[in-house]
Subunit: 192 residues, 2 copies
Amino acid sequence: MDAVDQLIAHLKESIPVTSEEAIGLRKHCSVVELRRRDVLLFAGETSKHMRFISKGCLRAYYMDSEAKEHIVQFGIEGWWINDLYSYLSQTPAKQFIQALEPSIVVQIQIEHLNQLFHEIPSLERFFRLKFEKAYVAFQERTMDAMSKTAEQRYLEFRSKYRNIEQRVPQYMVASYLGITPEFLSSLRKNIP
Amino acid sequence: MDAVDQLIAHLKESIPVTSEEAIGLRKHCSVVELRRRDVLLFAGETSKHMRFISKGCLRAYYMDSEAKEHIVQFGIEGWWINDLYSYLSQTPAKQFIQALEPSIVVQIQIEHLNQLFHEIPSLERFFRLKFEKAYVAFQERTMDAMSKTAEQRYLEFRSKYRNIEQRVPQYMVASYLGITPEFLSSLRKNIP
DNA sequence: CCTCTTTCTTAAGATACCTTAAGATTCATC
DNA sequence: GATGAATCTTAAGGTATCTTAAGAAAGAGG
């Protein structure tokens, strides 16, 4: 099963996809192989693709005014990763997207995707739902960031994303949680 | 100029609206008057309307597991307010929406709005853009909550929303910023 | 206007989280 | 397998923010 097959299988979990539609889709997909540390999208560029992770692990992060990195999102096999705002509004990205492992990503250009929305109407619904989920995830994260302790946030991260915790460096988990690596280390010491 | 006129004027700032379209729109709008403290949407209910504030001031907030309130959003004249996730996914709201002053809100039922999208195509674009903005606002707020001090967040709130700061109680600003009212009070003492 | 409720301030002691620095461990690559 | 780079831990001292409690000020509604 190649990378695009995986994308199609992923779509089929939520919407029906006929084999003709799959063929149409395939035409508009490009597959990118990334080495560890390769950057797929630089801040300042405009995000021109929707990106599906077929293999590997990536992060989206931005740099604050003091050049500190803050991780906005991780992504692994079967997830989408993007600077969604840049993509949707076609304005320069604030985030970088970088591979943390050797990875394979399927990309669909924005023009092609918009065209596909006409050929495969349920695809538009698929992305609307994705977007709604992304929205609510951010809303929850905002509220958590403001009302929960770092320990609570870490425990929730761990139970939600065990798999991710095991494959990214701990200091990146700290960055995702908004705390220092030292503090995360000390939290971990005091947890079973 | 009545409440619906205000809504139409608001739309005209972003998209063209013909007078026939305005008439069609008007049919599907209902106007709600609220007293101070009236609740427009309860957590647990499903949000069935898009809501435009024609007059007054409201807040969207949720209650955490310890019964503490956390303000997600304020809204004043010319803003939209909703539990957007509940509205979009038609699932029970986690947030309350409550008037902080006597207010007038224009509501459009979801079925009517979806129908209006066919009659006034640019309306769909209007809401897509609104939604993108809401998304990026949350993203920024998440990152701010995790990387900036309460003082920085307060100063930014103050310069962005001077008008709101002046009409809502200070402890609600604190709740919006994710800090205690006592701490906000002490921050303010040390700022010009 | 008066009164009751809501909101704001102050202060002291507690806790969460950060900074710095150094050493220990693990990992990647030759 | 050796070596240098990347990552993790520990610890001490500092700062940001919270909790509690009480009184002061402001505002709402009669």
